[in-house]
């Protein structure tokens, strides 16, 4: 592993985030707009959807959109011959994928900060301590790996950046309706338990609700998120390496 190579690509990805309007909107402005909209529309505790309920869902929902940006980015770079060009340098596929994981983890942490700051403005008062916040950041960083993996699977299937946008909704929509900011019912729970976002929202709700960090429920959530995220990123990398980078 060569750190110079990895950091060069991370720097490039972050420049893309700032300079490409679509990326900037989806990754940073979208979580802000979403939080603002929900804050104005549902910020009243009388509606039963105050920010202690919505914030974990909003954070997870923002992170899910990494699927779309990763898929668009990979298909676009493939179309432009950039992936092939990078492939002619001594950079290994491990370094290449590692750089994407780091940059997307960083973006997901930025998203948490944006949503948290705005939620605080709308009256959200988390009951967690510093360790709890660190664990919340770790949870979402881990979940970003899952989104990168699903983005890679999307990029493997999609023939163009346009198609990648559409296909990514196969992974975005279920997580949007079954497990993020829309409250789970007994009926939707049957589906939601098969989605990683359900466990992320559950973990964040526990952490921000002041549940002890050693609670069994939280450890189960963390275990599921870890296993699923690592499995999906491995599947994503393998599929993309075999079929996507052509």
């Amino acid at each position: 592993m060569n750190l110079q190579r990895i950091m060069a690509l991370v720097k490039m990805e972050l420049k893309k985030l700032i300079r490409e309007p679509a990326n900037l909107f989806l990754m940073l402005l979208f979580p802000a707009v979403l939080t603002l909209t929900f804050g104005i529309a549902f910020g009243d505790p009388a509606l039963g959807m105050d920010f202690s309920v919505m914030t974990p869902g909003l954070i997870s929902y923002a992170c899910i959109f990494i699927i779309m940006t990763v898929a668009m980015s990979f298909t676009d770079e493939r179309e432009q011959g950039l992936l092939k060009r990078i492939n002619t340098t001594p950079m290994t596929s491990g370094e290449f994928m590692g750089s994407h994981m780091i940059s997307n983890m960083f973006i997901s942490i930025l998203q948490v900060v944006i949503v948290l700051v705005m939620a605080l403005f709308f009256g959200f008062r988390p009951l967690s301590d510093v360790v709890g916040f660190i664990l919340a950041f770790l949870t979402i960083a881990l979940f970003s790996l899952c989104s990168v993996g699903l983005g890679l699977i999307t990029a493997t299937i999609a023939k163009s950046a346009g198609a990648a946008t559409g296909i990514s909704f196969i992974f975005i929509l279920p997580q949007m309706f079954f497990g993020t900011f829309i409250p789970i019912t007994d009926t939707t729970r049957i589906i939601a338990i098969f989605l990683p976002s359900y466990y992320v929202v559950d973990a964040l709700t526990s952490i921000f609700g002041g549940v002890p960090l050693t609670s069994e429920n939280l450890l189960i959530d963390f275990g599921v998120i870890s296993i699923v995220s690592v499995a999906i990123i491995i599947i994503g990398i393998q599929l993309f390496k075999k079929y996507g980078n052509k």
């Binding site: 190579r5 690509l9 490039m12 490409e20 011959g81 060009r85 001594p90």
Partner: protein, 268 residues
């Protein structure tokens, strides 16, 4: 799908083309590359010397880009061996990639980065020291007349400017072996001439250059030797002068038309 050639005098066996000393930059033995039912490269044997500027010519779809893609590790050979800088592309691809610079046919640059950022990115991907990246970036931008535009995002570049940048990126790591796949397509005559001069100057630095081009006069002016490929086979090999004598032609273009045209006429 590939028809057999019966052209006389074409190099056929490895012993016809190999001078097996240590002065070889590239050795290709019995190389075959198949895509499902299409044979893009069919039993190619070729040796390219260190410091040689080798022109790879051929009609569209002849297999030139496929050969380059195999040599730089983007495609796995179906059969045969390709040794680049002393390393087998199947076994030591990482070592091969440390030695080569590749200028792809279509300019591949990040549009949201400026020229300098693009070049520096690829310098970092080659793990070059920061100081050397800066020195070479300045030098190459100057040589290809891109210094003034180097801080502008490449999104606004003309096709010619993008092609120049494409070549600079290929050469940032100061590679021992450079693959230039049609580097001057779409450039205006002035830019093409200055790029020719630049490519010619690589010879003085003892770089091995493999140049594919459709501008036959470009290959004639720059190449020490040319190889003409058709239907994935090497059908002629030699210095431009030798080939012109052999085929009794005024220039290399005539040679090219004679031997590639003959295949069409003969219905091969």
């Amino acid at each position: 799908m590939l028809a057999k050639s019966n052209i006389k005098d074409k190099p056929q066996k490895p012993e016809d083309v190999f001078d097996l000393d240590n002065n070889s930059a590239i050795i290709i033995k019995d190389l075959v590359k198949q895509f499902e039912d299409v044979t893009a490269v069919n039993g190619l044997n070729l040796e390219i010397k260190k410091g040689e500027l080798f022109g790879l010519l051929g009609p569209n779809g002849a297999g030139k880009t496929t050969i380059i893609n195999v040599l730089c590790g983007l495609l796995k050979p179906t059969k045969g061996t390709a040794i680049v800088g002393g390393y087998d592309v199947r076994k030591n691809l990482k070592k091969v990639k440390e030695l080569i610079g590749v200028c792809p046919q279509e300019p591949a640059v990040f549009k949201f980065l400026n020229a300098r950022e693009n070049i520096e990115l690829f310098g970092n991907l080659h793990a070059m020291p920061k100081k050397k990246i800066k020195e070479r970036t300045d030098k190459l931008l100057e040589l290809l007349d891109l210094t003034e535009a180097s801080k502008r995002k490449t999104k606004g570049y003309s096709g010619g400017m993008r092609r120049k940048l494409n070549m600079i990126i290929a050469l940032i790591s100061d590679p021992e072996i450079a693959f230039l796949d049609e580097p001057t397509v779409g450039m205006d005559p002035r830019a093409r001439r200055s790029t020719w001069e630049f490519i010619g100057s690589l010879k003085n630095q003892n770089k091995t250059v493999i140049l594919t081009t459709h501008y036959i006069e470009e290959a004639e002016a720059l190449s020490d030797r040319v190889g003409i490929i058709d239907y994935g086979e090497l059908i002629a090999l030699g210095s431009p002068k030798r080939l012109m004598e052999k085929y009794e032609s005024k220039n290399l273009e005539e040679v090219f038309l004679k031997i590639t045209g003959r295949r069409i006429v003969e219905g091969i």
